[in-house]
């Protein structure tokens, strides 16, 4: 069995600058056998290791059926991610994963899907959009709501342009602060929740972003009669081992790394909203 704490070497095949501080690394394992047997589900994450510095937990944004490349979209914010931002095609790093429970994409087949993201939270949900786009007929109405702090933070603009033209798909964007000619809402994306159609009996809502934002979304969806087990959120906590041993990611009795990071709201409702857990 693979040593659970040791990464595999991977190579940077391509690097895309998404915004001033956000970049995407397209990776391939150096060992073709590792690449061949690697499988993941949208919403799962890898521990990405920068040589000599350390590991960080990063969600996977590429399509699970892409057997060639693995994409990680990362914001340069800490010691490891600022170093990862310096990597160029041909450079090597370490990958350990995938870990955790992803989004309920099989359960959501046949129903409408509402995705709400805030801040940089869109990355874990981009894999969901990609997944649904490739299997568009299996899902009902798709509503993507994305909020960013500043309009300059909006990434994946090309893909967003393409997605908004897909039938039965609605795209709603908002920026707290906007540069001139921003055609979308200025303010919080949650302010627009009242405008969207929700069929409470056959909608799966999936959200990712700051907990404060998710609380507002949950409150609104509760009022719209969406059941607790139809709302899913991706939780974030400090993660170091990713296998439930190191203790950092505990949220009440849950280990976010192995029980999550995606939880149905019904599983975390008891504690969600209590500060400092």
């Amino acid at each position: 069995m693979q040593h659970p704490y040791t990464p595999y070497a991977a190579e940077v095949v391509d690097r895309i600058q998404e915004s001033r501080s956000v970049f995407t690394l397209r990776l391939r394992f150096c060992d073709p056998q590792v690449q061949a047997r690697y499988r993941f589900a949208p919403g799962q994450f890898n521990m990405v290791y920068l040589y000599g510095v350390g590991e960080v937990a990063i969600s996977i944004v590429s399509d699970p059926e892409d057997e060639q490349l693995l994409d990680h979209t990362i914001r340069a914010v800490g010691r490891v991610t600022r170093g990862l931002a310096e990597l160029k095609p041909g450079d090597r790093l370490g990958i350990r994963g995938p870990f955790g429970r992803g989004w309920p994409l099989t359960a959501a087949e046949g129903s409408d899907v509402l995705l709400v993201t805030g801040g940089l939270g869109c990355a874990p949900l981009v894999s969901v959009i990609n997944y649904i786009m490739r299997r568009r007929r299996r899902y009902g109405r798709l509503t993507v709501m994305q909020g960013v702090k500043h309009s300059d933070d909006l990434i994946f603009r090309g893909r967003l342009e393409r997605w908004r033209n897909v039938p039965n798909t609605q795209l709603i964007l908002a920026a707290d602060q906007a540069a001139p000619l921003w055609p979308w809402h200025v303010g919080y994306v949650t302010e627009l929740l009242g405008d969207i159609q929700i069929a409470p009996k056959h909608t799966h809502a999936m959200m990712c972003g700051p907990e404060g934002m998710m609380r507002v979304v949950i409150r609104e969806l509760e009022q719209r009669a969406l059941p607790d087990d139809a709302m899913f959120l991706s939780m974030e906590r400090n993660m170091q081992c990713a296998v439930g041993h190191c203790g950092h990611c505990q949220y009440g009795g849950r280990f976010v790394c192995k029980d999550g990071p995606v939880f149905p709201y019904s599983e975390v409702k008891e504690l969600f909203g209590v500060k400092g857990l």
């Binding site: 040593h3 659970p4 704490y5 040791t6 990464p7 595999y8 070497a9 150096c30 040589y51 000599g52 510095v53 350390g54 590991e55 914001r75 914010v77 800490g78 041909g90 450079d91 090597r92 790093l93 370490g94 974030e236 906590r237 400090n238 170091q240 081992c241 296998v243 439930g244 041993h245 190191c246 203790g247 950092h248 505990q250 009440g252 009795g253 849950r254 280990f255 192995k258 008891e270 504690l271 209590v274 500060k275 400092g276 857990l277």
Partner: protein, 367 residues
């Protein structure tokens, strides 16, 4: 010899037990006095054990004193017992080397199983070890280092005869008598030990010592001593599952009161035999050609424990103490099917300001 047999080992022959274990290839790790406290380390002579010592423990207090007798185990515990052996405070997990053309070669560190016999461990220590086994071994990703170190162990348990004022294992159900998890168990009397075996391996060692059967008076003395060490315990925890009682009181004013006293030093988590949090760190060589990835004990009382991209989830001591206590006695039930406390009382003794877990629980849950 049947497993239920009990035999008597005179005190002056205790060395023969150590010798029998050493002869079988075990390194004996047992208690000894160092820097004024009982510590566990390699032991080859029975004279190295804490003969004639007694521990005085209380909130923020630990003192060894001469007891005026010749007993070897007339004390409750020191800061550590088994945990640092199976889950070392600092341990390399793997290393990486830079090869040609920027390649990286990863090498996992493997721990070689070592035959170790633990002498004089207590019921609370064995219970704590079983809890840590659950954390590190019983999941989809068993820890290979912990597994290797667990492989070839032998446990000589001692039924506690002198619980400290900080002990409450009778309340958690984990002591003072060892009921399982040992190879041999001893009850110490004034002139020797009543022995019984818990495994075939223990039985074989006991048979080799060619001991006399115990007398009815000795058996009776063991029972009386066991009862006395239960009734001597003055502290306690409610025996029920405290999960809901704690999580229903997350905004109790007592959390603020305890935070006024708590220094967030992390001592309680370092001495706790079940605390398992650890941080991963990296130690590159100066020339940059190699690097070692380590793990070392961490504590939910540190500022870094709850750090995520620029913010701390638990920025104040109130939420950190609350995390520790609600986990240990509450959410631990969700994770591992029991409380994370074995009643050893170490967190009370080694707290520099003498915070008493039993007192805090009583105040918060109203018990």
């Amino acid at each position: 010899m049947a497993l239920a047999d009990t035999r008597f080992l005179p005190r002056e022959r205790f060395q023969t037990l150590l010798d029998a274990l050493i002869e079988r290839g075990f390194r004996c790790v047992g208690p000894q006095v160092r820097d004024g406290a009982v510590v566990y380390d390699t032991v080859t002579r029975s004279s190295e054990l804490p003969v004639g010592k007694h521990d005085m423990q209380g909130p923020g207090t630990y003192r060894l004193e001469d007891a005026g007798h010749e007993r070897m185990f007339a004390w409750a515990n020191g800061a550590q017992a088994i945990k640092p052996h199976l889950f070392p405070a600092r341990e390399p997990l793997w290393s990486a080397e830079r090869g040609g053309a920027g390649s990286i070669e990863f090498t996992p560190h493997s721990a070689a199983p070592e035959a170790v016999a633990f002498i004089g461990v207590r019921a609370c220590d064995l219970a704590a070890m079983q809890i840590q086994d659950h954390v590190f071994l019983h999941g989809p990703y068993p820890d290979p280092g912990y597994a290797a170190r667990s492989e070839a162990l032998f446990f000589v348990a001692v039924n506690c005869s002198h619980p400290a004022a900080t002990c409450f294992c009778a309340a958690t159900g984990d002591g003072p008598a060892a009921t399982h998890g040992y190879d041999l168990v001893l009850s110490e009397l004034d002139n020797g030990f009543v022995l019984s075996a818990g495994t075939e391996a223990g039985n074989a060692v006991m048979a080799q010592l060619e001991l006399d059967a115990t007398t009815p008076a000795q058996t009776q003395a063991v029972v009386a001593q066991g009862e006395a060490s239960i009734s001597a315990q003055t502290r306690s925890l409610p025996s029920r599952d405290l999960r809901d009682a704690l999580f229903n009181n997350l905004e109790h004013p007592r959390w603020d009161a305890v935070a006024e006293r708590c220094l967030a030093c992390g001592n309680c988590t370092m001495v706790c035999p079940t605390c398992f949090c650890h941080a991963e760190t990296e130690e590159p060589t100066l020339d940059g050609h190699a690097t070692t990835h380590l793990r070392e004990w961490d504590s939910c009382f540190t500022t870094g424990h709850s750090y995520i991209h620029g913010l701390q989830v638990r920025a104040d001591i109130r939420t950190r103490y609350r995390q520790w206590l609600t986990h240990k006695l509450g959410s631990w039930h969700d994770q591992f099917g029991r409380s994370g406390c074995v009643g050893c009382g170490r967190c009370i003794s080694w707290c520099p300001v003498g915070i008493d877990i039993t007192e805090e629980v009583a105040a918060i849950t109203g018990d």
